[in-house]
């Protein structure tokens, strides 16, 4: 073992150290040109003046952000009041994403735990079963959900058939339908990180707790949960972040009343009616939110790792 420790620990694997920059060049150039530069362009666009037929005029303006947060009346000459329309849409996005995250946690945690406690050879198969649906086209999954939730759809048929309800409940075009759709879209993202952390968890800690008279539920709450918290947080982030900006679920399942920020953004770029700077500004607000969440998360994870070591 001495050899392994000395060779593996001290030097990172550096076989291709000399060629490093050449090997990285294609990804730097490509992602720089077609991801990083576009995001910067978007930031610039959000500070430009809108052109009436879509597109922009190259004149600096904070009108897009102003429109997002403040109402200055029809002609823009009244004193500024908070504009609730877009903040409400934003707030609804957070609320919907949060609800979907909680739903996913309620189902995802027990599932992840169950899979992680299977015999080692059986686990990859379970994980595979959970991941397959993620790789199916999101659009098709959302359409399937729409089909399922219809008033005369299979879910209502099933519930009536079992005698639980007499008349179909209308789920489609409600907030709940959107929550269900988001939950369904990103459920595998909740299961996988929790699974990974429960699998790493040392179950002799639970045995020690049981030995010291703790019941299973107390052990779960006081011993296991703190240990797997980073995985749970990671799962919540992975569901919450894409849910926030999702477009398909609210568009197909929510109907016109249950607008989320994704739809608001999309509308700004459709045809000639849109407002590009406003769309770019709304995108920037969303992006900032997401980056803040990710940064808090990264700090938390770093702290958790420090505590663990």
């Amino acid at each position: 073992m001495a050899g392994g420790a000395a060779s593996g620990g001290s030097a990172a694997t550096d076989t291709y150290k000399e060629a490093r920059n050449w090997l990285l060049l294609p990804s730097w150039v490509y992602l720089g040109a077609f991801v990083l530069v576009p995001v910067i362009m978007m930031l610039i666009y959000s500070f430009l003046t809108k052109e009436f037929r879509g597109g922009v005029v190259w004149e600096f303006s904070t009108a897009a952000y102003d429109q997002f947060f403040f109402d200055r009346g029809l002609f823009g000459d009244e004193p500024a009041r908070i504009e609730w329309t877009y903040i409400t849409i934003f707030w609804r996005s957070i609320w919907q994403a949060g609800a979907a995250t909680l739903l996913a946690l309620a189902i995802g945690f027990p599932t992840a735990y169950f899979i992680a406690t299977r015999p080692e050879q059986a686990r990859p198969m379970w994980v595979f079963l959970i991941t397959i649906p993620y790789w199916v086209n999101l659009l098709i999954r959302t359409v399937s959900m729409k089909f399922m939730l219809r008033d005369s759809g299979p879910l209502n048929d099933f519930l009536i058939g079992t005698g639980l309800i007499n008349d179909p409940i209308s789920i489609i075009n409600t907030n709940f339908a959107v929550q269900l759709g988001l939950f369904y879209s990103y459920l595998p993202f909740m299961v996988l990180p929790i699974y990974a952390s429960v699998e790493r968890y040392n179950f002799s800690l639970s045995e020690a707790a049981a030995d010291l008279y703790a019941s299973k539920w107390v052990t779960l709450r006081r011993v296991l949960l703190p240990a797997v918290k980073p995985g749970v947080i990671a799962g919540c982030i992975l569901v919450f972040v894409p849910s926030m900006g999702s477009f398909l679920a609210p568009d197909l399942l929510g109907g016109a009343k249950n607008f989320m920020i994704g739809s608001l953004i999309e509308e700004q770029f459709k045809g000639n009616a849109g407002n590009w700077p406003f769309g770019a500004a709304a995108s920037m607000v969303l992006l900032s939110m997401v980056l803040i969440v990710l940064m808090i998360f990264a700090r938390q994870q770093a702290k958790a790792e420090k505590e663990a070591s």
Binding site: F114, R141, L248, L286
Partner: protein, 269 residues
């Protein structure tokens, strides 16, 4: 009576919830598959088993539209996955076998940027970019955007695979008089093949499935399968959409399954 072993891991009800989870995940997909085989003009009533909607996809009134969309989707997916896999393999070699270097974190951030930025935001940014540099929206703009967001999906399995390969293999090759290039092509690359294949397949699926970004950058007249399906669904779910969705669904499941079994072929010592 002997008491059975105290199972410290088992928690009551968790098995049931796991089954519920699987039902939730699979039921909508199964229902769509079943209803795609429905011999009815409406999607509401079951009127017996039939392949007529599959036939309709290939020869019905909308077949021409679907054929062109399928051609676009598949050619874009093949080119995007190939480009993304190549770029990612090179990048992974630098990241995993390049020692410690200052720009490592920055490079990793850049590679995973398409995963961190919400898809709709990336779509907006890409559209704005194409618009401001004067690219005409169409097949090429879709392709360029697809390569970008496919890179992290190809990168992750490839770099994971490479991290799993002990560098003593390349060292052994060099010890036995191979140059670094020979150690890469003759030893490392063959050992990484499962990772490269699963990276390629994942990139392929992600490209094939993308709707949001494609919808923003496609321009008028150019459709891929997802945008064509979305256009039809907006006018209500029709049985031929169920059929085409089922085919696409089956294709994705097939590719993921291949990817799973390929990556399982581990290099045992």
């Amino acid at each position: 009576m002997r008491r059975s072993n105290y199972d410290v891991k088992g928690l009551p009800g968790f098995f049931g919830i796991t089954i519920l989870c699987l039902v939730i995940l699979y039921a909508p997909l199964l229902v769509v598959t079943v209803y795609s085989l429905n011999d009815s003009n409406s999607i509401t009533n079951w009127e017996g088993f039939s392949f007529r909607w599959y036939v309709d996809v290939f020869s019905g009134p909308e077949s021409q539209k679907f054929k062109i969309a399928a051609w676009n989707s598949f050619t874009i997916a093949i080119i995007a996955a190939t480009a993304a896999t190549t770029i990612s393999t090179l990048a992974a070699t630098a990241m995993v076998r390049g020692g410690k270097f200052k720009l490592r974190t920055v490079s990793f951030g850049l590679i995973s940027l398409p995963l961190m930025v919400p898809e709709i935001v990336l779509a907006v940014a890409t559209l704005i970019f194409f618009n401001s540099v004067g690219f005409t929206r169409g097949y090429m703009t879709i392709l360029i955007a697809h390569i970008a967001f496919c890179i992290p999906f190809a990168y992750l399995p490839i770099s994971a695979r490479m991290q799993g390969i002990d560098d003593s293999y390349e060292q052994a090759a060099q010890d036995l008089y191979a140059t670094k290039r020979q150690a890469f092509t003759r030893i490392l690359l063959p050992m990484m093949l499962p990772g490269i294949i699963s990276g390629y397949l994942l990139a392929f699926i992600v490209s094939l499935d993308d709707f949001i970004i494609t919808n923003f950058v496609k321009g008028a007249g150019v459709e891929t399968l997802p945008t064509a399906i979305f256009g039809s669904v907006k006018q209500g779910i029709k049985p031929n959409i169920m059929a085409i969705s089922t085919m696409l669904l089956g294709f994705s499941v097939l590719l993921v399954t291949i990817s799973y079994f390929v990556s399982k072929t581990d290099n045992k010592k």
